[in-house]
């Protein structure tokens, strides 16, 4: 699905990531850890084509990103759901419209598709907030709305960047439960987080692999968690 081969990424004359190789297999569950500034967000952006590697190869669904134009990357991104820590929304649209946005931009906003929206909003616990505007949502509601938007196209892969960064423990467990459910539905999940308690909680629910970015390189972690 997503494959990184000897990937390097440099910015402003400095190398942020070096010699990274990883394959995200179908239905796998990954955590990505590392200190702040280690390059977790950069790594995720490479995984969904928002950044292009300065070395090596990133393949999205068997196509090399460096050989794809922006529109081709955009089309691939429809198969990758992304949840950001800061949960960017279009503030002039309602929560329901924001969640349906991937359907709209891909031309799949038919009545049938939109009918699933109500069910999805119920799944993430936002049924009563459909008409609210994003600035009216709490941190947890924003995260759940972002997750709903990320999964509405039924993507193959879900990449979440610090999805529990702005929520309390209870809400982080609720979000984790939703992500585990998605994984059980066959979705590939990768969560970038520095919250080790979240990883420990997840390990009790799902078989996962923990990766750490350290000194610009990707390592397999685990024993210390």
């Amino acid at each position: 699905m997503i494959e990184l081969e000897n990937v390097a990424y440099s910015y402003g004359g400095g190398e942020l990531l070096s010699d990274i190789s990883l394959t995200l297999a179908p239905a796998s569950f990954h955590f990505l850890t590392g200190p702040s500034g280690a390059g977790k967000t950069t790594f995720l952006k490479l995984c969904y084509g928002a950044l292009r590697p300065t070395g090596g190869h990133v393949r999205l669904f068997e196509r090399d990103v460096t050989q794809m134009d922006r529109d081709a990357v955009a089309l691939s991104r429809r198969r990758i759901g992304v949840v950001h820590q800061d949960c960017q929304f279009l503030d002039h649209l309602s929560v329901a419209d924001n969640i349906a946005l991937p359907l709209v931009v891909s031309g799949q906003d038919s009545a049938g598709e939109l009918a699933n929206l109500r069910e999805l909003m119920g799944w993430v616990g936002l049924t009563g907030r459909a008409d609210a505007l994003p600035p009216e949502l709490s941190g947890g509601e924003r995260q759940r709305a972002a997750l709903a938007r990320a999964v509405i196209m039924s993507p193959d892969v879900i990449l979440a960047d610090e999805p529990t960064g702005n929520v309390d423990w209870e809400m982080s467990q609720r979000l984790l439960k939703l992500l585990v459910e998605l994984n059980r539905m066959g979705k590939t999940i990768m969560i970038a987080t520095h919250d080790l308690s979240l990883i420990r909680a997840a390990k009790q629910q799902v078989q996962s692999r923990v990766l750490r970015i350290s000194n610009r390189r990707l390592q397999l972690a685990g024993a210390d968690l």
Partner: protein, 294 residues
């Protein structure tokens, strides 16, 4: 291109509706369309003027006879005889006293006693399509009618026609400049709108929107604004032209400023052309800004 102009209500909603660029685009389009319609009217009127002057004057000329009152009739008759035998002269006719008075009336008033003034006798000549040999006719007239002077209108016809033609050209150049200025203003407005919506663009890209989709949302909005603004400006300009006072035949050039016959179609083309300019300008701006934001 079809995707850019096809209505897509859902897509149009992804761009926030407010912003100063709305008013800027509407006002610019309306003002430019207003000016474009007037430039168009000026250009078409100049074209008609050049055509009329050219047609009317090209085949006519005048012989002016200055002589003592007792010799005037004889010299006029002699001149008419010369003209009747001149190849290329279709007809020649001495103007009556009333006709000469009518010519002088705009300058001297209606009660001018022409008969008591030493006014030259004028002979109006109509040429054939081939025309006559002006130099040869002048020689014959100087030999047979000493007081006769041939004026073939060339001396003042050419500058008039040239001036009218130049005015027409300036009208079209003005329309071109108006279109370019409209494009520039809309490009600035589109750049501002795209830059102000960088986060909107980031969100759209995050959820898989292609550049064509994002550009289309902006292009449609600016195209429709330009179309609406230009339609208002065109309507106001047409009303202004319709309300121009009719000074009759004496009014000369200015009363001819307007549209005649099928030329009324031209103002209808202004709003679609403004929309086309907006479409191309916004499309280019969107392509550039989306490239920069990538």
């Amino acid at each position: 291109m079809r995707g850019l102009v096809a209505s897509d209500a859902a897509a149009d909603r992804v761009v926030p509706p407010a912003g100063f660029t709305v008013r800027l685009t509407l006002f610019t389009s309306a003002a430019m369309a207003f000016l474009a319609v007037f430039a168009l009217a000026l250009s078409l009127a100049s074209g008609r003027l050049a055509q009329n002057w050219g047609d009317q004057l090209a085949r006519s000329s005048t012989v002016r006879i200055s002589a003592a009152a007792e010799e005037m009739a004889a010299q006029t008759a002699a001149a008419l005889r010369v003209l009747e035998t001149t190849p290329g002269v279709e007809s020649a006719r001495a103007l009556t006293a009333e006709e000469q008075q009518a010519l002088l009336e705009p300058w001297f008033g209606p009660d001018l006693p022409v008969a008591t003034l030493p006014v030259p006798q004028l002979i109006d000549i109509t040429e054939t399509d081939d025309g006559y040999d002006a130099a040869g006719l002048r020689l014959r007239l100087s030999a047979e009618v000493p007081g006769a002077v041939l004026d073939d209108h060339t001396r003042w016809r050419r500058p008039l026609v040239a001036a009218a033609s130049r005015l027409r050209l300036l009208g079209w150049v003005s329309i071109g400049l108006i279109a370019a200025a409209t494009g520039a203003m809309i490009t600035l407005a589109a750049n501002a709108a795209l830059a102000a919506n960088a986060q909107v663009i980031a969100v759209l890209r995050l959820v898989g929107a292609t550049d064509a989709y994002i550009a289309g949302a902006f292009v449609r909005r600016f195209t429709l604004r330009a179309l609406g603004g230009a339609a208002v400006g065109t309507c106001l300009a047409v009303i202004g032209i319709l309300l121009m006072p009719d000074a009759g035949e004496a009014g000369g050039f200015l009363t001819g400023l307007g549209f005649q016959g099928w030329h009324w179609i031209w103002p209808l083309a202004v709003p679609p052309l403004a929309a086309l300019v907006a479409l191309l300008a916004t499309q280019a701006a969107a392509r550039r800004v989306l490239g920069e934001l990538a």
